[in-house]
């Protein structure tokens, strides 16, 4: 592996760790769908950045900033219910994003793939992962009480709205990190599926967080290996394209299926 590839894989694995932790809280907060909206809102930003020849990550970051603020407002209680808003935003962002993204970049924007990673972006990426993990560690007590009962959290002196905003910002940061190799359509899955695996297999909070992170890291590792060993696979007359993002999420989904069987034993 070249240095760039090593950096790319390392950052992907660190991102997976962050996604596992953020996802576990997303599942407990029952905001899996809101997470999909946030990740899909990145797409119009990506597309517009490509049109104007700006770094697509910056375009996605700006779009994610708006997505985060929108979901935060919805959580605080708006005039329309969250599921309606989520349903509309989810598809609208996908449609607008597809329209504005140049067609040669569309597949990569939707499904990801490793691009060149400079040392600077690697360092920024690692710093972002450290911020996310540190946030979860530092605010874990506030988060735990908040997801049990926002009212009890508020009466315990916790600023629930502020913690929710911080959490959503960390969620968006995780999406941003995952976008590079998973794309706007699949990045949400790396946050939710490993957490779903963790929930199936564990009964305690610590184990849940550990299994969720581990499942996420293992999915990326196996997905990466499949992509490297078999970039394409011919079964009979059908040629399969084992792209990185879809390979990772398929591995995660298979582990989830096994976790369902394991649970029943």
């Amino acid at each position: 592996m070249t240095t760039t590839e090593t950096m790319s894989l390392s950052l992907a694995l660190l991102t997976a760790l962050a996604a596992g932790l953020i996802g576990a809280f997303a599942l407990m907060k029952r905001m899996s769908l809101a997470g999909d909206v946030i990740s899909h809102i990145a797409l119009p930003g990506l597309g517009l950045a490509l049109i104007f020849d700006i770094n697509p990550i910056i375009g996605a970051a700006v779009a994610l900033f708006f997505g985060t603020f929108l979901i935060w407002q919805l959580e605080k209680g708006g005039k329309i219910t969250t599921d309606v808003a989520v349903g509309v935003m989810f598809t609208a962002a996908l449609a607008v994003g597809t329209l504005v993204t140049p067609s040669e970049d569309l597949i990569e924007a939707l499904f990801g793939g490793f691009q060149e990673l400079t040392t600077l972006w690697f360092v920024i990426g690692v710093a972002c992962v450290i911020v996310i993990v540190a946030f979860i560690w530092y605010f874990r007590h506030q988060l735990i009480i908040g997801l049990f009962s926002p009212e009890l959290a508020a009466t315990s002196g916790i600023n629930v709205s502020r913690i929710n905003l911080y959490y959503l910002m960390m969620f968006s940061l995780t999406v941003l990190l995952g976008l590079r190799f998973l794309g706007a359509l699949l990045v949400g899955a790396l946050i939710i599926i490993p957490a779903a695996i963790g929930r199936q297999l564990t009964h305690t909070l610590t184990a849940f967080l550990a299994v969720s992170s581990a499942a996420s890291v293992v999915s990326v590792l196996i997905g990466f290996a499949i992509n490297r060993l078999y970039p394409s696979l011919t079964v009979g007359s059908v040629k399969l394209n084992l792209a990185l993002g879809p390979a990772i999420i398929s591995v995660a989904a298979i582990i989830f299926l096994f976790s369902l069987i394991r649970k029943k034993i």
Binding site: M28, R30, R140, H141, Q142, I144, I145, L147, F148, S149, E151, L152, A154, T155, S156, G157, I158, R199, T202, H203, T204, L205, A207, F208
Partner: protein, 241 residues
């Protein structure tokens, strides 16, 4: 008497509907204020206003040294949440700046077993869950306890246990108490003050202030009720209104 809380002309309006109107009362140190009233009278709305969980008009002034513990009526927690009371108590200790050893004290005071402590909250019975909420409220050493129908999800033997626990905790922690209940025996047995609420304060005073006229105004003319003598200690269900 030193006041813990002063409530002056508090009104709550949500989407144009007046849920509380011009409610005024005080709570002194060591007092036990019981709030009664029919469903939809605004009892929970009042408690949430006191806790600053709801926007309201009027003045709610807590004493500077007031430390409030809140025991909600129910919690809409996910049944599958992999969180135990142990997790929650540890988190509450950290947030409240209390040592983790405090957990041992509150579970002894409330009577929670280690097994309950390690069971995910969604798997606990109504009574166990309620005891956990009481213990959670006691971390942070409150001097005011606000209870919203503490026995709503508890069976009858459990009710008696919860009521005697509240009595005991009040003495041990030197608490002022504000409790919403439908249980008139609790009112006559425990309350030093009563607030009869039906969107507005129908009466504020000692339990003796609850006259048949007041009850008729609160619950409607047709409602029959059974009044305990002040010193009786009957089973709580006898006094339900």
């Amino acid at each position: 008497m030193t006041k813990r809380l002063e409530v002056r002309n508090v009104s709550v309006t949500v989407d144009g509907t007046r849920l509380l109107e011009d409610v005024t009362f005080d709570l002194g140190v060591g007092e036990r204020l019981v709030i009664i009233g029919p469903n939809g009278a605004g009892k929970t709305v009042l408690l949430k206003s006191l806790l600053d969980l709801m926007p309201h008009a009027g003045d709610i002034v807590w004493a500077p040294d007031a430390r409030i513990g809140y025991v909600p009526q129910k919690i809409d927690a996910d049944r599958h949440l992999p969180i135990t009371y142990k997790d929650l108590f540890v988190s509450k200790c950290r947030v409240a700046g209390e040592p983790i050893a405090r957990i041992g004290d509150v579970i002894r005071d409330v009577g929670i077993s280690r097994k309950i402590l390690d069971t995910p909250v969604g798997h606990l019975s109504g009574g166990q869950f309620q005891l956990g909420l009481m213990a959670f409220a006691l971390i942070g050493r409150p001097n005011v306890l606000i209870l919203d129908e503490p026995t709503a999800s508890v069976d009858e033997p459990g009710e008696e246990h919860i009521y005697s626990l509240i009595e005991r905790l009040q003495h041990e922690y030197d608490l002022s108490i504000i409790a919403v209940t439908h249980d008139m025996s609790f009112v006559y047995r425990e309350a030093t003050r009563v607030l009869c609420l039906n969107r507005r304060a129908v009466c504020v005073g000692t339990p003796e202030a609850i006259t048949p006229d007041v009850l008729a105004e609160l619950y409607g003319e047709s409602q029959s009720f059974y009044r305990h003598h002040h010193h009786e200690h009957n089973a709580p269900e006898d006094g339900r209104v």
